[in-house]
Symmetry: C2
Subunit: 264 residues, 2 copies
């Protein structure tokens, strides 16, 4: 058992500290700390992940940790924290404010807490099992969009739809009301607030998508892989997040159909 | 003759007013004002463009106006204002904060003042002929990047590189240090502040690119069409903006070479 209210209070404190570190480095030269083979963001990533790991080890010493920068620890424990110190690396290194800090807590492999923190815009989305998701403490809900033809759709990078997945991208481009690129974790945040209706991504890592799961679900959305399976540490990295169950079901069918047609 | 200091003071006042209108509608339902065949953003666009036109007509009654929403007026005058009430339509309608308001003043067809205003982030880049460009009043300069291999590159939508232009996109994807999508007018703003190094776009309209010209130039950058020609009301909509003259020259050559290879 875990007190999720307490865990959320904890993750808010950690996000406050992590965000301060990110903003200290944002739009600043990092030459002094730079090794020959490293990008600045790697160093900031590492500094933030080390900070978060220290805080978790202090407050929840038995819990596992799965992060982007260091090897997993204790992930056989029932509770595992999943952290992405800076999601939106390309944004961060180009002075673009839409980078985020991500945290999830998994219980027996299933996300029960998620947080999307955007230090540069001062926005933080949070969700815990059994509760309504929030943006800066105020409840947020997904839109009531049920049809791709009326959906605002986000995907970060069309180039990731390679090989047999190109047909999926083409389907989105042809059928969606609007398709916008870029965004990373912010796309799920916009979905949770009802500003966009669908996010389709491929090639993600568990620390990219597990922290957004409870934010989307707690706002009324549905998020799975492209086959409709729950997302976990072993998921493929193909993510489908929809504002409503109806839109999610429609997209699952379209994903199957377009890929089957391509394969035939 | 025109007093550019006075013109900049004027455009700052107009941007203040225009930004307030944009933020009043941002992330808000617009159903009451919506006609059956119109998107909300069209109405906001029109409201802002009408406001800006009224202000120009009051302060500079002889000047021409070229905007996105209404027919051009007086554009035979030596001085023509070019306005885009909301650049980044896809962002605005999906609650994404990186939409901008753009204004340029042309003298005999050549931009002598430019402004990129981002109401939701509170950032405003300005540039006038003969002066240093500024971000919120503080001087800004482009990076010293001289080579595509070390360049952070932005382009809004890879899908716009259609037909024979696909080879240009492929060249950028293969040769650039980093290629990021999305952004619209914000890409030139990041360039002017030295955060990214190169912006390559195609399919733009004069109100998309003329307002950014003096911001880029006054920060030390070079901006032309893909053939190295100055940008004006009659330009093709292919835009190349680089942090340094060296990077600009290198890209002009690469653009010619890749397109010639494709045509052969």
């Amino acid at each position: 058992m875990i007190d999720l209210v307490e865990a959320l209070r904890f993750s808010n404190e950690v996000a406050d500290d992590a965000g301060r570190v990110a903003l200290r480095h944002f739009r600043k030269p990092l030459a002094v700390e730079l090794k020959a083979d490293e990008t600045p963001v790697t160093l900031v990533d590492r500094e933030i992940e080390a900070l978060v790991r220290t805080r978790i080890a202090h407050s929840y010493p038995e819990h596992g940790i799965f992060g982007e920068e260091e090897a997993p620890t204790n992930i056989e424990n029932s509770f595992v924290w999943v952290i992405d110190p800076i999601d939106g690396t390309k944004s961060f290194v180009t002075g673009h404010p839409l980078f985020g800090g991500l945290m999830a807590l998994l219980q027996d492999g299933e996300p029960c807490l998620g947080q999307i923190d955007m230090p540069a815009t001062g926005e933080r989305w949070s969700g815990v099992s059994g509760g309504q998701s929030t943006l800066n403490g105020a409840p947020c809900t997904t839109s009531d969009c049920r049809d791709l033809a009326s959906a605002y759709v986000y995907t970060t990078d069309p180039m990731l739809f390679a090989g047999s997945k190109q047909v999926v991208f083409q389907m989105l481009k042809e059928k969606a009301r609007l398709l916008r690129f870029g965004g990373d974790c912010y796309n799920y945040a916009l979905l949770a607030s009802g500003f966009c209706d669908l996010v389709v991504e491929t090639g993600l890592e568990p620390y990219d998508f597990l922290p957004v799961v409870q934010v989307v679900r707690g706002a009324g959305g549905v998020i799975t892989d492209w086959n409709g399976n729950s997302l976990g540490l072993g998921s493929s990295g193909d993510v489908l997040a929809a504002a409503t169950p109806e839109l999610h079901t429609q997209l699952l069918e379209k994903l199957q159909t377009s890929q089957a047609t391509e394969a035939a």
